[in-house]
């Protein structure tokens, strides 16, 4: 979809931006053409967000333009006076940021917030501006906008909040949208719907969109052209289809490879009648809600079992109860009802003191790598703590074991002296894995091991877990919403929705022949890099 004949709307000319003595954007040339959707892909720290902010002229504190300029329809943005610059932001170029809930004023009604933007760009009275806000909300696909307009942000779901932010961006009738990882953190089905309506509105209104993302799937499905960003530079720019087919730059190739699913696990499932290692029957966890008679049924009668050496993926969106189920299994929560049997022993009613010796056989890798590590402890002590569960050790033995563990997760032994904040997210995740391995358990719960990681780090963690599975004959419960990693890591899949397992089966069966409508909806919302896109009708379903 090349439109090189038309003059670009936004043009970056050798733009460099620095923070202190560090250059974050390094000589970027870029043309955003009318009506095109342009993807910028890169990992954390590549400078993507700064790029979007530089275009709108709002660099984060401490940032300044070192060289080059941004032009909007030929006019350098830096030459605008304060009032022109204000009218330009939102009136010509609008920004949609990450984490929509934080982008909304928590104590103002959302309708008023949109109206505030409308009135910043047009002389309208309050009533007319509110009417316009409601119209925008309807346009972006919000049902019953009159009622929703009176809601406060905390009363909205993440997807709804993101739609409000999009409506705010459209309120000043801009002709360029900058979407900075706008759907990050949303559930896949919601992400697909939000992106769909964003792209649809933009095409209708003839807007140009700069879609900043770390997800190559999004690029594949929605963008016309793409640029790959690394360490402040654009390493490759081109049309999407040829790029995906044959990326020219080695870094682009690396990214693309990392984003692809691994081949299905080699070891076929043992079909014999071994007793399961872990067995959960009718697990139920209800939380009392203050001020309400009805409890939240986070987990509502879930049954599954896992054989030794087998990995079961528990898949579901946020709020499906999958993490709660994992925590009940680890006895971090006292389940309301149901039985948990581990290695033939009913552990449901064991008190903490009686259960502690069993913990050496059951470990957990926690979701967010940083917050699951005590920030005041050194890696060495974090790894040594669970060893007390095995047997008394001398400090020399402990040090040797720490070194072994670090090696097992491919970390340099020097990191033993580091504290968690000195590690990268990938390293933190590995320390979390190493800690779970310290007691040589036979069963591990992995809670969202691939979430919030960059493409390549995510691929590395997947490979690490695959290695451990085959070397240690480890049984695992793999809690995730990332379908791509399920393909690479699980023998079997259980799909969870609103506290219940709606479908269970082998990985192939679920991906090839899903029966439950929810499973199908989930699969349809996935934006894989390497499959044919599904027709849009399925996504909306």
């Amino acid at each position: 979809m090349s439109q090189s004949s038309e003059a670009p709307i936004v043009e970056l000319d050798g733009l460099s931006v620095g923070f202190g003595d560090k250059t974050v954007i390094d000589g970027v040339d870029l043309q955003l053409r009318p009506r095109e959707i342009f993807g910028v892909v890169g990992e954390t720290g590549a400078g993507k967000s700064v790029l979007a902010r530089a275009i709108i002229g709002l660099l984060p504190t401490g940032g300044r333009v070192l060289a080059g300029q941004v032009r909007y329809r030929g006019q350098p943005v830096s030459t605008m006076g304060p009032e022109d610059a204000r009218a330009f932001r939102g009136g010509k170029v609008a920004l949609i940021g990450t984490n929509a809930k934080a982008l909304l004023d928590p104590v103002a009604r959302v309708g008023d917030q949109i109206a505030r933007v409308v009135r910043s760009h047009e002389r309208l009275d309050k009533r007319a501006a509110t009417a316009r806000a409601v119209a925008l909300m309807r346009e972006i696909g919000i049902n019953d906008p009159e009622r929703r307009a009176r809601a406060y942000p905390h009363e909205l779901s993440g997807g709804m909040a993101q739609r409000i932010v999009i409506a705010m961006a459209l309120a000043g009738n801009p002709d360029v949208l900058l979407a900075d990882d706008a759907t990050l953190g949303l559930d896949a089905t919601v992400q697909a719907q939000v992106l769909e309506s964003l792209v649809e509105r933009s095409r209708e209104r003839g807007l140009s969109v700069l879609l900043v993302t770390h997800d190559l799937g999004i690029v594949r499905h929605y963008c016309d052209r793409v640029a790959v960003m690394k360490a402040g530079r654009l390493v490759e720019v081109g049309d999407v289809e040829p790029f995906l087919a044959a990326p020219a730059n080695p870094y682009s190739r690396e990214l693309l490879d990392a984003a692809r699913a691994r081949p299905t696990l080699q070891r076929p499932l043992a079909e014999d009648d071994r007793p399961p290692l872990v067995s959960v029957r009718d697990l139920t966890m209800h939380f009392a809600v203050p001020g309400s008679v009805e409890p939240i049924r986070a987990v509502d009668g879930v049954s599954f079992s896992i054989a030794a050496g087998e990995t079961l993926a528990l898949v579901g969106e946020s709020g499906s109860g999958k993490t709660t189920a994992g925590q009940c299994l680890m006895r971090l929560l006292d389940n309301t009802d149901g039985r948990i049997i581990f290695n033939g022993r009913d552990i449901t009613d064991l008190r903490e003191n009686a259960f502690r010796p069993l913990r050496r056989n059951m470990q957990m890798v926690f979701q967010e790598p940083y917050v699951a590590l005590n920030p005041r402890w050194r890696v060495r002590d974090l790894l040594a703590e669970p060893m007390a569960l095995i047997e008394p050790m001398t400090s020399a033995e402990r040090a040797r074991r720490v070194a072994e563990l670090l090696e097992a997760v491919h970390l340099p032994t020097a990191l033993a002296e580091a504290r968690p904040h000195e590690l990268t997210a990938g390293e933190q995740k590995r320390v979390g894995v190493a800690r779970a391995l310290a007691t040589k358990p036979s069963f591990i719960v992995f809670d969202e091991p691939t979430t919030a990681l960059d493409i390549r780090v995510r691929a590395q963690i997947i490979d690490l877990i695959r290695g451990l599975q085959s070397q240690m004959n480890l049984a695992a419960l793999f809690i995730t919403h990332d379908l791509n990693s399920v393909r690479s890591l699980a023998h079997r899949v259980a799909v969870m929705h609103l506290g219940k397992i709606v479908e269970q089966g082998s990985t192939e069966a679920i991906f090839e022949r899903a029966e439950h409508p929810y499973t199908r909806k989930l699969l349809a919302a996935e934006l894989p890099v390497d499959c044919e896109p599904l027709p849009p009708g399925d996504i909306a379903a």
Binding site: G97, A102, V107, M168, G172
Partner: protein, 348 residues
């Protein structure tokens, strides 16, 4: 369909629910405060009878006095009697002023309230203005000055600042009136309506009395404001700076909303902590006013408390502690209500 009490409750307007909840909380809190005020004074060493009657009193007269005060009964009976008296508005009689303590307190309360209410308005107004300006103009000379002030003000003893102000503004420059009471002794005070001399004199159309009473307020209010606005500045700076850096402020800017509107929205978001801190300062000043009142011969509750301490007049002290705590409780409850009203995120 039958409506359960819980459902009925949830259908009431939010404001009503907030207020009713708070008022229901005041009762047990007041009970607790009364208990502690009672225990503090009653269980501490020292025999009030001996203090009142002096060291040469006979054992019989002391026993008689004990009986009169009910001190011969056990502690809980004493508390029950005390509580009953308090509920009837009887806080006892001061042996030194020979008047009911409640009357004594009521006579002096307006002086203190006038002082601390005006002082709180100035303190919060000035503190918040300085803080917001310094955050918006971050890094400017004003910002540095504001931060230095926020810091230094916390180290100033109010009684010392009051003395310095008296020395400079009264003794050296003669700009401020003498630190002797609420109004010039040569003037007849206006008829009491609200008890606030400034307002009463305006109501009476007595501008001379108004000038005098307003003038007498300047030094004490200046003292309190200088010392306490720093704390408000510091606190508001922290809160407002955090909100000023919040993503939603950046988003408003990215949408081209004018800066004035953004400041307004950010200030609206900082309101809950500002409300808490204002109520805290109001409560704190009731105690801190003791020092300022003493220096300016204000004749309010604070000075009454000092007299009570000097005279070992425990009944009066107990009465003061009780009334002061009740006042603080009411202030905090109002603040809590406002806090919940301005923050829609709080579930009620």
């Amino acid at each position: 369909m039958r409506v359960s009490p819980r459902q009925f409750w949830r259908r009431q307007p939010r404001l009503l629910r907030i207020i009713v909840t708070r008022i229901a909380l005041i009762v047990p809190q007041m009970f607790g405060v009364t208990l502690i005020a009672f225990l503090l004074i009653r269980l501490l060493p020292g025999d009030p009878a001996r203090l009142i009657l002096g060291n040469f009193a006979t054992d019989e007269s002391i026993a008689l006095y004990h009986q009169k005060l009910g001190l011969d009964k056990d502690v809980w009976t004493q508390f029950a009697i005390y509580l009953g008296n308090v509920l009837h508005g009887d806080l006892g009689t001061s042996p030194f002023t020979s008047k009911p303590i409640l009357d004594d307190l009521a006579d002096r309360a307006p002086a203190t309230l006038e002082l601390i209410l005006f002082a709180v308005i100035c303190t919060v107004g000035i503190g918040v203005t300085i803080a917001v300006t310094s955050v918006v103009k971050k890094g400017s000379a004003f910002d540095w000055g504001a931060r230095a002030y926020g810091f230094a003000a916390g180290a100033l003893p109010d009684f010392w600042v009051a003395l310095l102000l008296v020395f400079f503004l009264y003794y050296m420059l003669g700009w401020a009136p003498a630190p002797f009471g609420r109004v010039d002794m040569m003037l007849t005070p206006p008829p009491t309506v609200t008890g606030f001399l400034t307002i009463d004199s305006l109501l009476a159309g007595d501008f001379e009395a108004f000038r005098s009473s307003a003038g007498r307020l300047i030094l004490p209010i200046l003292t309190i404001t200088i010392v306490n606005a720093g704390a408000v500045t510091k606190m508001t700076q922290t809160v407002f700076a955090e909100i000023w850096a919040a993503p939603f402020v950046e988003q408003m800017r990215a949408c081209g909303v004018p800066e004035r509107q953004i400041i307004r929205a950010a200030l609206r978001n900082s309101l809950p902590p500002i409300i808490s801190v204002s109520s805290f300062i109001l409560g704190f000043l009731l105690g801190a006013a003791v020092l300022v009142e003493t220096i300016f011969s204000w004749g309010g509750l604070g000075q009454y408390a000092v007299q009570a301490v000097i005279n070992s007049d425990y009944a009066a002290l107990q009465g003061f502690v009780l009334v002061a705590s009740a006042f603080i409780l009411v202030v905090y409850s109002i603040a809590d209500i406002l806090y919940e009203v301005v923050d829609p995120r709080i579930r009620t």
